[in-house]
């Protein structure tokens, strides 16, 4: 843990040094992004939609500043609930560093599974994302999207149970490439992300399993319509691996509304269907998320 933290600090230090010569002519400014163009906090903590990670960089900063965001998300499902909270730093609209903690509560199912009522599976997600090229907002004369790559290191806290149900590892790293385009003339936002992952149920049930223990390419897609300067509605699809023999895993989808209440505060409300989780089918419910950004 301390090694990881020192790596992050070293990265931040390196960026600060790299930025120093430019600061002379390039005045540093706080904030300045157009509302909603930093996305909202996805379930994995990266800027995106609700389920999908997007190529947009979190925080309100432009290329001339450093910004950040914090979020709390609650996903009450038919039999379970998922809560997550975390924060992200956006550096010059180029680099995003994020941390999120997910808490998956089994409620009554915990009793049925012999784990105990309200037994939780928790996970830490450390993310980094780098924008490679493109400007999703201003590149309106070409079809070129904004493209970012990223990695998410995930560590689940229930290693013993994960191994008992056939999970191969209690930690893993996802790698992804994401392309986001705002088709302003059509008031549309489109995103496609390909993720190389071994994660079972986002990683809460570990990584790899008795059926497969190899990376597979999974897809995340989002489409949203801009209704006003502050309001977008849309839908998302996210496919997931199916590595565990004891329980089938389904693709997840949602239909969402994202509203920027102010320049610094946005709320996302969605209907979400996560399919079957640990043999319990029909895990549908709400996705409610509040994000503050600066």
């Amino acid at each position: 843990m301390s090694l990881r933290r020192s790596c992050v600090l070293a990265l931040l230090g390196g960026l600060a040094l790299a930025a120093a010569p430019a600061a002379a002519r390039q005045e540093m400014r706080a904030g300045g992004k157009l509302v909603l163009t930093n996305g909202v906090s996805s379930v994995d903590g990266a800027a995106g939609g609700g389920l999908a990670t997007w190529a947009l960089i979190g925080g309100n900063e432009t290329k001339d500043g450093i910004g950040g965001s914090a979020h709390v998300t609650y996903v009450p499902l038919a039999d379970y609930s998922l809560a997550s909270y975390g924060a992200a730093i956006g550096i010059m609209d180029r680099v995003e560093l994020s941390y999120t903690r997910q808490v998956f509560d089994t409620h009554k199912v915990g009793t049925a599974l012999g784990l105990g009522k309200g037994f939780t599976f928790d996970q830490d997600v450390f993310g980094t994302k780098i924008r490679l090229f493109g400007d999703a907002v201003y590149d309106q004369a070409s079809w070129l999207p904004q493209v970012s790559i990223g990695a998410q290191y995930k560590h689940a806290n229930r290693g013993a149970i994960i191994h008992a149900v056939g999970g191969a590892h209690d930690s893993g790293t996802d790698f992804y490439v994401s392309a986001t385009k705002i088709l302003l003339a059509r008031s549309l936002v489109l995103d496609g992300t390909v993720r190389a992952t071994k994660a079972n149920q986002f990683g809460l049930l570990g990584f790899g399993g008795d059926r497969h223990d190899r990376y597979s390419a999974q897809f995340e897609g989002s489409a949203a319509l801009l209704l006003t300067r502050k309001l977008a509605v849309g839908g998302e699809l996210r496919t997931k691996p199916d590595n565990l023999g004891f329980a089938r895993e389904d693709a997840a989808w949602d239909a969402f509304t994202a509203y920027a209440m102010t320049q610094n505060l946005s709320v996302t409300a969605a209907y979400v269907d996560l399919g079957s989780i640990a043999t319990v089918k029909g895990q549908r419910g709400a996705f409610l998320s509040l994000q503050a950004s600066f």
Partner: protein, 156 residues
């Protein structure tokens, strides 16, 4: 001969009433930085010349009074800005005007505009268009046409 030359020079640099002289430049609709829309749909969505006049005036008023970017407009020729913006919007919306202003690159080269300033300006334009009740989807079609100007406006 001399009076004729003087007359020619004066007419080439004719300054509209209330405006300050600018260095000579070649005039062309291409200076507007965007091609006009086809048809009359966008022109009508912006309520034609009267609507464009109100939008530009509201837009300029908001920019001049803006706590973040107002400073950039201080000392600028606001009379000329209103006239050339009305021409530019009318030309792009296919309202049949000619654009007599400078290129976006030339007009912004000494302003030191940063990304944040550009985004604040966009919001002021969105507010001015909303005040005129321009449908949001038409606002976005117009902004999509203006967006590529960022490369000439944001200079640092």
């Amino acid at each position: 001969m001399l009076p004729l030359l003087l007359f020619a020079a004066a007419s080439a640099m004719a300054v509209p009433p209330g405006e300050q002289p600018v260095d000579p430049y070649s005039q062309s609709d291409a200076n507007a930085g965007a091609a006009p829309f086809a048809g009359q749909g966008m022109w009508q969505a912006f309520h034609e010349q009267a609507g464009v006049n109100r939008i530009v005036d509201g837009f300029v008023d908001r920019n001049v009074a803006d706590p973040v970017i107002g400073e950039i407009f201080r000392g600028q020729d606001i009379v000329r800005l209103r006239r050339t913006l009305k021409e530019q919007f009318c030309y792009i919306l296919n309202g049949g005007c000619a654009y007599s202003g400078r290129t976006m690159k030339e007009a912004h080269k000494n302003l030191g505009v940063q990304m944040k300033d550009m985004n604040v300006l966009v919001v002021n334009l969105q507010r001015a268009m909303a005040a005129e009740n321009v449908p949001f989807f038409a606002q976005n079609r117009f902004l999509a046409m203006l967006a590529p100007m960022k490369k000439d406006v944001v200079v640092r």
